[in-house]
């Protein structure tokens, strides 16, 4: 180990590190961008709810030895549709509907774990993320599905901006508000499940919420807020990965701390 620069360059020569950066950047782009819309719609807690719901799906996948991402995706998709149904029909408000789904998903996971005879290492990797040990198969799945989210948002961001600003008036523009909302919710579920592999169930909400929250401190236009959001997310991720690899500290924890640090700087800066 010589000077920090060559250590850093060395790091980028490792295949595992290149994989982590590539997968992480794509997932972060998707997470951060979707997070901006969720915050503006005042729905950011849906992330935490869906991540915990997905835990049930992951346990099912591990129990039946299938790729846990598949049942997790299905369960989260059902949960997000259920949440919006409960809210639309006035059966439960957003926060309580999320709480119900979270409880159902998580308890499903617990029951299955106890049936299987306890925790194992693999389940742990889903709780806390495992970006530095991601394999090529997972990397490919995660990257492709992140691209789906990114393409969706690039196509429909102006409609989503319209709906986030004033849902009721958006109906009078003739855009299909209901369909877009359902599609957006499904994309949210997809994005969250993907990022579990990267950052883990417990901390995914930070990856979704912090970049946009940081950008919102700066009081920019919508366009610049979107750009800043994704830049903050990617910078936080890469810095976190480097620090984590260099000092061998839990990756997702370091990523979250880096993001919190950038958020704190921007919050203080915008108030100077």
């Amino acid at each position: 180990m010589s000077d920090p620069i060559s250590v850093l360059m060395n790091l980028f020569n490792y295949q595992f590190f290149q994989n982590a950066v590539l997968g992480g950047v794509l997932v972060t782009l998707a997470c951060a961008w979707i997070g901006l819309f969720l915050i503006l719609r005042k729905e950011s807690m849906i992330v935490d709810g869906l991540a915990h719901t997905a835990f049930g799906g992951i346990a099912i996948g591990l129990f039946f030895s299938i790729n846990p991402i598949i049942p997790a995706l299905l369960i989260s998709a059902v949960a997000v549709l259920a949440i919006s149904y409960l809210r639309r029909k006035g059966i439960a408000q957003s926060d309580s509907a999320i709480a119900v789904m979270l409880a159902i998903g998580f308890s499903t996971g617990l029951i299955i774990i106890s049936l299987a005879g306890g925790f194992n290492v693999e389940l742990f990797s889903y709780l806390f993320g495992s970006i530095l040990t991601i394999n090529m198969g997972d990397l490919l799945t995660v990257s492709l599905l992140s691209v789906v989210t990114i393409v969706f948002l690039s196509l429909f961001y102006k409609e989503l901006m319209c709906i986030s600003f004033d849902e009721r008036s958006s109906r009078l523009t003739g855009i299909p508000v209901e369909y877009l909302s359902v599609a957006f919710n499904l994309i949210v579920a997809l994005t969250i499940v993907l990022s579990i592999k990267i950052i883990g169930i417990i901390l995914v909400v930070a990856l979704v919420v912090l970049p946009a929250l940081t950008a919102l401190q700066l009081r920019l236009s919508f366009r610049k807020t979107m750009l800043t959001t994704v830049v903050v997310g990617v910078v936080g991720l890469i810095m976190g990965l480097i620090i984590s690899a260099l000092y061998d500290i839990a990756t997702s924890g370091v990523i979250v701390f880096t993001l919190v640090f950038i958020f704190a700087v921007s919050a203080v800066y915008s108030r100077l």
Binding site: L40, K158, F165, R171, T173, I175, A215, R219, F222, K224
Partner: protein, 259 residues
Amino acid sequence: MDEDHVLVVEGLNVTRGGAQVIRNASFVVNRNDYVGIVGPNGGGKTTLLLAILGMIPRESGTIKIFNQDIASFRQWQRLAYVPQDAVNFDPNFPITVRELISLGRVNRGNLGRPLKDDDWEAVEDSIDFMGLREISDKRMGELSGGQKQRAFIAKALVRGPEILFLDEPIVGVDADTQEKFFQKMSNLNQKRNITILMVSHDLTAVFCRMSRVLCVNRDVYSSPITPTVDPNELLRKAYGEHFHFVYHRHECRGDFKDE
């Protein structure tokens, strides 16, 4: 059906929360009408607008816009609406005046596609028309009440609507700003041939500038505004027998200068 009837309402009944808010309303709005909707608070003016636009359910009656039933109406780009509470948005929402106005160009036709050059040209025209040039890059949350109202009207106008629905579009601003606003609306109505329906408490402005008045207090009375129509007689139907509106027709010439 007469080509000139852009809005036809027949036997409209609307109930909200168990109470009847609009009772058996029937009226017609012609192309290029400038309609003032007046009446006491809680009399159903906003409800009437929302029902016309199909945003709240109606109990019975028919509503036709451009000779099409509102239930199957799809030509939303021909209408624009500025709700009363438009200005009560989240002041932290990151959006500039120009970006807000550009949302007015979002419609079913350009779903999933970016706005084009002619959309942005229309945005710039609308900015100039509403006198928002100097603040076009400011964030909406930083504007004064009157500036916000003008920005929302610009957002409505950028659609190039044939009918413009405004629910108390200009309140809590000084007399000069209000006067300029009414001049602009007359200009839109007369020079750009836009049909306007506007909920307003400014009865003088309604009777001086507009071509038709709807008096709304559960019942809806429609009347053209002509020199032979007595405003007091009409307004008593909405505001009650003891209402007295001090109004002299010569005020119109004195107070209002058209562009």
